[in-house]
Subunit: 337 residues, 2 copies
């Protein structure tokens, strides 16, 4: 695979999975104190990674879950938030201004705080009650974070009595990185084809639903816009028919992130529409990937990580074919604002 | 004002305000039965109109509020939703497929349902426990719905002990339509200027936060995309700096919907950035409008309706200068999908 190190990927994802024991200890401590709801707080890609988990918790568990944008959260005075809340924050660098400020705000109110981050001795790890640390390169951070969140949030739900099969689920996660590598391999040629065909495309619609909606939102914003300077519209499949559809013409690029959760029919409806009205339809369907060793009952939860692992390959090929490094920024951490 | 009837506007908004007594009766009945949370359910522009109210309820009241997209909601199996939920649905025509299906789903589970709609004897009004009906032309529907929602949700919060000044607030709403007319008049020249300057602009960023975020989302999707076939990106001010900012160049149109709630500093930050990096910055600031008779303490809640009332003028001038009727659709209710 282009610009890809299997070793690094397995090290990062393996590092995430090795945290299982520590994560379960944190969950035990959190339950000792007790909590009445979960706030998932981040900015940009980090909050987007929380959206699938907000969706899955609200679909699976009686614990109320709220994914919130850090900079807005500290201003809003959210009335469900209190010392009895459990907060999970995320910042790979551990220095994202707004997220660190949110961590301090939450601590100030007395809530229990867990921080997912790439390094100790950075503001996020130093602020929260429970830092959960796994070093990850930028391109693997999303997979690392998601693995940690599968362990953390599903264990939380399990202890709440909502997800009895946690043992089997966590056991199967052990094989997931190898299966995600297989998926990447299988997708590689298609990723390259996409990049060749669409390298000069000025605009993409990116559509998701359920636990792929967060991936659609972040791929559009954090990769296509931020790293490739290409215009996008991310749109939820259930909202697609209430406005954005009118822009679709024969030459409009529409990218569908089709997962396997309850909302799959929403994506099928958009797909049927797009097949008729554009010649530039790209479908990433998690169902096309075998994921040997993963039970049918767990597949739906994994749509978000399968999607992001595939999208990571798209990014590498876009970088290559467009000759536009994923690292350059006009503004972010380049100028002050 | 171009293509505008004061009489019709005052009739529609007056019709909404005349519902106050009926709305308070509904609130009493809803409290008799009891409820533990509020679900605000719609599609497209209707769910977008709920977003500000979700934000305001969660900032003001201990009643948990969830705004949900109808078509996803019926598939998700949301665990906070139960027979003890209060549901507010909205569809102007009363026929929006997904919203009517959601109403039936909610009834099936035994939740209390309120439906905001433009007509009796249509599926939405026929399905819900409490139809609240006010006829509105499409271009005034958003103001009508918001007035009804100010009365309904603030009365619900008042009865919960969270908003003691409801009487004063509801009293002041009586003068609001006249003040919104003044605001429209004051904005008229600016709206026309915008349409002249931007009639051929192929892409706009539309930015909001707090209770203007829903307006940004829906103006981008339901007007610029659906009714004018112009590409957009709606982006929350707190997320702007995590990706979308990288697209900003000297010639990028950025439209800011600046309100007066707690999140105003987020908009100011985007404004300061945009002032530096684009020559095509448009700021709609609710603070520029006097709204005589409205107390300072209530102004922040009204940012969403002030914003939408101004945006309605933008639409009319875009229609005119672009010679593109707000009524034509390529697909919506034109082809089957």
């Amino acid at each position: 695979m282009l610009n890809f190190s299997r070793e690094k990927y397995l090290k990062v994802t393996g590092g995430a999975l090795e945290l299982r024991e520590e994560i379960e200890r944190v969950v035990d401590k959190v339950y000792e104190k007790g909590f009445k709801n979960i706030f998932l707080i981040g900015s940009g890609g980090a909050v987007a990674t929380f959206y699938p988990f907000e969706f899955m918790i609200n679909s699976t568990s009686t614990i109320p879950a709220y994914a919130e944008i850090a900079a807005e959260f500290v201003l809003q005075n959210h009335k469900q938030f209190s010392a009895e809340s459990l907060v999970i924050l995320s910042s790979l660098s551990g220095t994202t201004q707004e997220t660190v400020a949110a961590a301090k705000y939450c601590k100030g109110i007395g809530a229990t705080t867990i921080g997912l981050t790439g390094e100790y001795n950075k503001p996020l790890a130093d602020t929260v009650d429970f830092p959960i640390v796994n070093f990850a390169e930028n391109d693997f951070a999303s997979d690392s974070n998601q693995l940690i969140l599968y362990l953390l949030t599903f264990k939380l739900m399990n202890k709440n009595g909502d997800f009895p099969n946690f043992e089997a689920f966590a056991g199967q996660l052990e094989v997931l990185p190898e299966k995600l590598l297989d998926a990447k391999e299988q997708f590689e040629a298609k990723a390259e084809e996409f990049a060749v065909a669409f390298k000069d495309e000025p605009y993409h619609m990116v559509v998701g639903s359920g636990n792929t909606w967060g991936r659609a939102y972040s791929y559009a914003m954090c990769v296509l816009e931020e790293m490739q300077w290409i215009k996008t519209k991310s749109i939820h499949a259930a909202e697609f028919f209430h406005g954005t559809l009118e822009l679709v013409e024969e030459g409009t690029s529409v990218i569908l992130l089709k997962g396997e959760d309850e909302t799959r029919p929403l994506m099928e409806r958009v797909e049927q529409f797009a097949e008729k009205y554009t010649k530039k339809l790209t479908v990433l369907d998690t169902k096309d990937y075998e994921l040997e060793g993963i039970s049918e009952e767990f597949r739906k939860y994994l749509s978000s990580i399968v999607t992001s692992t595939l999208l990571q390959r798209l990014s590498v090929h876009l970088e290559d074919k467009r000759n536009h490094s994923l690292e350059i920024r006009r503004y972010y951490r380049t100028v002050a604002y």
